[in-house]
């Protein structure tokens, strides 16, 4: 358990495709919902892929748009046009 990274997003309609994409791409992701907020935990590494969001959304998506719904995160970050990755390196 203490090796999770997490991402917390506002529980808004815009966040739904992002949440679905994370669940689809991370087998061990655990989604915790509370009013206003969704927190997703995942051991060691969590990836958000642009293509998966676009599939769920049915249109083009700019990964930096997560800035509109992001609440918090943990882990080291790697970010490019296609992937947003949170990871621990131990």
């Amino acid at each position: 358990m203490p090796e999770n990274v997490f991402i917390a997003l506002q529980n808004t309609p815009e966040a739904q495709p992002i949440i679905e994409a994370i669940v689809a791409d991370n087998d061990n992701a655990v989604v915790n919902e509370s009013p206003g907020m969704v927190k997703i935990d995942c051991p060691k590494r969590l990836v958000l892929r642009r293509e998966t969001v676009e599939e769920k959304l049915g249109q083009e998506f700019n990964l930096q748009d997560i800035h509109l719904t992001l609440i918090s995160l943990s882990g080291n970050i790697d970010e490019d046009e296609d992937e947003f990755v949170l990871h621990w390196d131990f």
Binding site: M1, P2, E3, N4, V5, F6, A8, Q10, S34, P35, G36, M37, Q64, D65, H67, L68, T69, L70, I71, S72, L73, S74, G75, N76, I77, E79, D80, E81, W88, D89, F90
Partner: protein, 510 residues
Amino acid sequence: MSNRKLNLKDKYRLLTRDLEWEYSYRDYEEIFKQESFEGIKITDWSKWEDPFRLTMDSYWKYQAEKEKKLYAIFDAFAQNNGQQNVTDARYVNAIKLFLTGVSPLEYQAYNGFAHVGRQFGGVGARVACQMQSLDELRHVQTQIHAMSHYNKHFDGFQEFPHMHDRVWYLSVPKSFFDDARSAGPFEFMVAIGFSFEYVLTNLLFVPFMSGAAYNGDMATVTFGFSAQSDEARHMTLGLEIIKFMLEQHEDNVPIVQRWINKWLWRGYRVLTLVAMMMDYMLPNKVMSWQESFEVYFEEAATSLFKDLARYGIEMPAYAATAIEEKEHLSHQAWSIFYNYGHAAAFHTWMPTDQEMDWLSEKYPNTFDKYYRPRYEKWREMEEAGERYYNPTLPMLCQTCQIPMGFTDMENPTLTSYRQSEYDGERYNFCSDGCKDIFDHEPEKYVQSWLPVHQIYQGNCGGAEMEDVLGEYYRINLGVDNLDFHGSPDEERWNAWHNLQPAEDKLKEAS
């Protein structure tokens, strides 16, 4: 000129590195005077890894969109008289505490990041700090706008910046930020960027905002999450600065470790206010302080420090004490505020039976044993018309400035009390953490502006309680302060909802 579409990395490089120039007629040391005096050794700023690579155009685009959404919700909240739909009027006291205690810290963060954003030789770090500085200014502004609506309907909001600079319990968060801003630029980044933003901010914002959501306060939820959406960038900057210092030179490791120890303890002490807010001030509870501490501190910090172990960084000193205190902290804090309810700019009260049961359930090892009997006694006194207010002034910890109300975890009925001597004077502390911080930099902490000392020295408006609380603090006496029961806030709330105060019901029945 080529038409090649630039990728994120290149775009961000053009915004940062490419804006830098060679200093030809001034010495580097002269331009970046504060970069070396703390002992931090930087050999190569080009190794700086940019956290989020947000260019100016996307930054403005996203921030504008966030603001648009936020103000639409503020308008809707005001038009629908949203203040009447919160769970009950006691809830509003949590956001009074937020506006007086936390929002001014956003302003301090704006100042602090604007300052350090000038001090670093690396342009990547400078740009990131300046963007954060803009964010923090936005945070304080949106918070004031959100709360200005509550100010029309409830007491205690009107003098928040004045109070922040003077009132005894607000000196706890204020002095924390003053302490950070009067440190060097690297220490400021460890204090605020890393310790406060990366490690502790989740314990502040997430409970406050979920608390607001559970209690029907959509305006606060929205400003909170809107601010918090910037926070992810701030957290990442905090983590990057630490890793950068640690990678630059091995001599930086012990300095950084000492700062981590110091600032996580300082920050944790400030969060005492959040602990009591969660357990006592929310009519609808989200989770207990203990639960939130376990998720956002124990679990998150354990992985973080495992990750930082490769640089030789260890779990912060005193983390064990904070963990031991988790079953006591909120109860001890609320007891202090209940004691001094006449001197606070918000209302206090004793928990209802149902709330006491919730506390027993959440704190099976401590609540019934140590705190319930005390509360039952206070409730008895209140019912007899003798609501307890402590007429004396408390001794304060020289470092964190909190009244000495914490107890020893080995014997939780004994006040935790430490002492140091410096230059022939005695200084008092609430904990080993606070004492060690003082002992390392006594020249700094002997200058602490301690509210109680200042009152006794005659610097706070006069010798009478009314002079200090009314004139000097600008608490509207009999209105902003005292118990929630019998307050004008309660009366207005009851009128809105056609509720009767309990006493009147009794009178009618008899």
